[in-house]
């Protein structure tokens, strides 16, 4: 069952609950990174969107765990699909998969491996090739409007991803069709693979760009769950909504934060211990 009347609860108490969930997701991400061994994994861009995942799966999304394909559910698609180290733990938090399964995310032939589309466990779309999902979001939002589903479509994009040209085709069309059921979230962690987004291919002024495309813009601290709740609770009418979440790539682990090489990297046992100590030391 989906309770469509449920509003987003913007409160300090709720923010604290979601911050606790974020810590659990970060610890899960470390377990997954360690389990990936020498393959390495996408820690940096997963850690930057942990709070976004917590707030989405812990509060914002109207999902139906008993009936995952309920057509009136909200849709969430991570277009920057390499954020699996925070997305998969969030799916476990939401109850789509068992906690034990998260370590199998690189298992040969596994159901979590390789950005699959598995809607029965909350994987709505096979993302991965950057820039495509926002167009799919426009299609889903158009369809939801026509069918009066009363739901929302959420698309998470990276900041580097915004270099992709077809994204701007999609943004133009989202505003043209007045899709106020479409919400884009930008994980503005300031780094793409080769370094600072402003030196690789500058995207600022980002807010102005979205405003000029006739989107409603919210800006927030992407690691402050209260700030995120407030941003998600905005419900502009007549235009699509973008939340530009200012974040830190690798957030939460000092030696990973803001380091481009941790976009995709191996986590050693030593580093794992150090990261866990840093993260759990944060519990008061």
């Amino acid at each position: 069952m989906i309770d469509k009347s449920r509003k987003i609860n913007v409160s300090e108490e709720n923010a604290k609950r979601l911050a606790d969930m974020s810590l659990r997701i970060r610890l899960d991400a470390m377990d997954m990174a360690l389990a990936s061994g020498n393959n390495g994994s996408h820690l940096g861009g997963s850690l930057s969107c942990v709070e976004i995942m917590s707030v989405l799966y812990g509060e914002v999304l109207h999902l139906d765990i008993e009936n995952p394909l309920n057509p009136d559910r909200d849709r969430f698609i991570p277009s920057k699909n390499h954020c699996v180290l925070s997305h998969i733990p969030a799916l476990a938090e939401a109850g789509f998969i068992k906690r034990e399964e998260i370590l199998e995310f690189q298992k040969d032939g596994g159901r979590l491996t390789g950005y699959p589309q598995r809607q029965e466990i909350g994987l709505e779309y096979s993302g991965g090739s950057l820039g495509m999902a926002i167009s799919v979001g426009v299609g889903l939002a158009l369809s939801s409007k026509e069918k009066n589903r009363g739901n929302k479509i959420y698309i998470l994009m990276g900041d580097g991803e915004l270099n992709e040209g077809s994204i701007w085709e999609a943004l133009m069309s989202g505003a043209h069709y007045k899709l106020d059921n479409l919400v884009a979230i930008i994980d503005r962690n300031h780094l793409s693979y080769d370094g600072d987004t402003e030196s690789v291919m500058a995207i600022e002024n980002l807010s102005d760009k979205f405003r000029s495309f006739n989107w409603f813009v919210s800006e927030c601290n992407g690691h402050d769950t209260y700030d995120l709740l407030k941003a998600f609770a905005e419900d502009p009418k007549g235009k699509p909504h973008v939340i530009i979440a200012d974040t830190v790539k690798g957030k939460g682990v000092s030696f990973i934060e803001n380091r481009p090489e941790w976009h995709h990297h191996r986590l050693s046992q030593d580093e794992y211990e150090k990261a866990r100590a840093e993260l759990t030391g944060g519990i008061s």
Partner: protein, 333 residues
């Protein structure tokens, strides 16, 4: 219900494949399928969608000149239960949008049909940017995607109706412009996936038995070429013609029969000889021992100068006279 009459067949020919699909077939399909959506990239007028738009304004979505976004939007609509037809020039839908097609139609198997119009060199005067002479190669290489290439306007209607009757992702390649030559003068059974024999000459042990396998606009030209060959003085060649309207999945049973019956296979297509319909035939033929030799007639891995459609096709060796001439030379070799 679309009525098949001599007058209508003439009208469809005048409208061409594109006009017939969007002004004749599509409104009928919309009447039968509540979940239909038709997407265009700023080519509603050119494609003859006026009638569709008047009858079903909510089912027509014009995404502007943004072909990649069009395929992504089509995917989103299909993920929520719609059957989507999306169209623009063949080159823009099958080449510019190719990765979206790969991801959404091929990989995710969404219920999206893409219709590429003006395939081959219909836009002969616009030049290479508007031609599609590699689209079969690109789409044929994508798993799960079926590829159709109708011979005339009537068959284009039938292919479109078939596409609407299944959930599969499909690419329909529309060739010929306005006044598309008539191949089918009366109603016939369209069988998807099966080669259609249009000219079946009696096999003759004392003669060279040639079979032309053609697709799209080249079917009518191949029929004309076969007449030229058989009527030429002292001709020792018998020439059958098959229409390969379904390029993928390929008709293996039909080809098996052809391989055992004929001395020479000739593939004729308005497409590069690399990767096209002829290549599809050859790939299968290569698995068969003692299959006959094949001649590939098409664009010879080159672009050509722009000009009238007749000029460009003649330069490419795709006029009936040049097709016939080439076959007669190959038979004498």
């Amino acid at each position: 219900m679309i009525k098949v009459t001599p007058v209508n067949i003439k009208t469809w020919s005048r409208l061409g494949q594109r006009g017939s699909v969007f002004s004749i077939a599509m409104p009928e399909i919309a009447a039968e399928h509540d979940n239909l959506k038709l997407l265009t990239a700023d080519l509603a007028l050119l494609s003859g969608m006026d009638r569709f738009k008047a009858a079903y304004p909510d089912k027509l979505i014009n995404v502007g000149i943004a072909e990649q976004n069009m395929i992504g939007i089509a995917a989103g609509l299909a993920m929520d239960g719609d059957m989507v037809f999306a169209t623009t020039y063949a080159s823009f839908i099958a080449v510019r949008s190719l990765e979206h097609v790969r991801q959404h139609l091929s990989h995710l198997k969404l219920n999206v049909k893409i219709i590429g119009s003006a395939a081959g060199v219909v836009a002969a005067k616009s030049g290479v940017s508007h031609w599609a002479t590699e689209d079969i190669a690109f789409t044929r290489a994508l798993p799960n995607l079926k590829v159709f290439s109708p011979a005339d306007s009537f068959e284009a209607i039938k292919v479109t109706q078939y596409a609407a009757s299944v959930d599969d992702p499909i690419y329909i390649r529309l060739s010929g412009g306005l006044n598309c030559p008539v191949v089918y003068k009366e109603d016939y059974d369209f069988v998807p996936g099966k080669l259609k024999c249009l000219k079946n000459t009696e096999l003759h042990s004392g003669k060279m038995n040639v079979v032309i396998i053609a697709t799209g606009l080249m079917v009518s030209r191949s029929l004309a070429a076969a007449e030229i060959i058989e009527n030429s003085e002292g001709s020792n060649i018998k020439c059958s013609v098959f229409n390969m309207h379904t390029i993928k999945p390929i008709d293996k049973d039909g080809l098996d029969e052809i391989f055992s019956d004929y001395d020479l296979i000739v593939s004729v297509e308005e497409h590069n000889v690399i990767g096209g319909m002829g290549s599809a035939v050859a790939e299968y033929k290569a698995t068969k021992a003692n299959a006959p030799r094949q001649v590939f007639i098409g664009f010879n891995d080159t672009f050509l100068p722009a000009g009238s459609q007749a000029f460009v096709l003649d330069e490419a060796g795709l006029s009936p006279e040049k097709i016939a001439g080439r076959i007669m030379v190959e038979c004498n070799d």
